[in-house]
Symmetry: C2
Subunit: 213 residues, 2 copies
């Protein structure tokens, strides 16, 4: 815990972007990347890129740049995704089921190991019609025991807004350590649980503001 000195929150956000850029460069067989290249891809200043890395160590080679694979490794380590995180998704509607199928999670060490709904039977119909079931859909009444049995640390909420807070409470009660709320209604939880309310429309709002102004 508190492995690093105080890091700007903005730096953490950018690290996640740098990682995406590196994965992309890697898929294009690039071995080395300069701070200038990374900066261009991520729309930031090159000095910013170097400074962000410098909080955590010296990862580059002067005159050369950064080794893509190595840097990727370091960033994953910094973010804490150098190990698998076990996740439960609650609310298997459209968004929930698309998360269950989302390939990119596993690539980044996020593993969905349980899925819950109020009406698993109805839901199983949809999913298996669509593409075979990736994980069994369980009734939400079993949440607490399954979270414990499967060592789940993160809960993702994809229910309708009216249910979001209730589900958040259930997840806290089941001792998850972090919650990602994708429902459009912000939830609140006790201090010791990390929380992110993620609004789908936020990116559109942002885009539209800059399109209008």
């Amino acid at each position: 815990m508190a492995k690093y000195p105080k890091i700007p929150e903005a730096t953490i956000r950018r690290l996640s972007n740098y990682l995406k850029a590196l994965l992309d460069l890697e898929s294009k067989q690039e071995k080395v990347a300069s701070s200038a290249l990374i900066a261009t891809i991520c729309n930031v200043n090159a000095a910013q890129v170097r400074k962000d890395f410098a909080y955590f160590g010296e990862f580059g080679i002067r005159g050369m740049g950064y080794n893509v694979k190595e840097l990727k490794f370091h960033i994953k380590e910094i973010l804490g995704i150098n190990r698998i995180w076990r996740i439960a998704v609650v609310g298997i509607g459209n968004l929930g089921s698309s998360l269950l199928m989302y390939k990119d999670f596993l690539k980044q060490n996020y593993k969905i190991v349980a899925a819950f709904d109020i009406d698993p039977v109805k839901v199983i119909g949809h999913i298996s019609e669509q593409m075979g079931k990736p994980v069994e859909i369980l009734h939400i009444d079993n949440l607490k025991e399954v979270v414990k049995a499967r060592n789940i640390e993160i809960g993702i909420i994809t229910t309708p807004p009216q249910e979001a807070q209730k589900v958040a409470n259930l997840l806290v009660d089941a001792n998850v350590k972090g919650i990602l709320n994708f429902s459009p209604s912000p939830v609140r939880v006790a201090e010791h649980v990390k929380l992110r309310n993620v609004f789908f429309t936020a990116a559109l709002d942002h885009l539209v503001y800059y399109m209008s102004n």
Copy 2:
């Protein structure tokens, strides 16, 4: 254009959150909200909330707080979502089809008026099995003409990563004014088109960092 003085980017991000908080308060029949209440819901400082609004005008009543409906109206106006924005979604896989069904978009004046895929026939099967088709799925070859015919200003990319840049180019060529890229591969476009690369895993990365440190 440039209706307002220079506004911090962070303010714009928060406005979008405030709006969500207000919609939530409204759905709970709250008529008035203080900066302190909004601050609590959105996890920011109350002075910050007031200052954010103050960039755009005086929306509150001293001693009282803010009228929820009125403030909601003002924020929508500031963000530019006081009118309908017509959107095309390209790539109707799991994520794409869940966006097509997403109720919250319409609530915030975002209207998906076209959907494109490389294989519309296959896709139509899925969607209509699932819940009737909300918009017709068209072949991507028709993108340019349909964007024009339907006055589409925004394109959302939900293709696999390998196709993302190609689709971005198509959208730019079709004269959309803004692009939201939900694919995990960052794309680049000409300056005059507004762009946001939105990574699904970013929120998880962020959450996990704070769970680990």
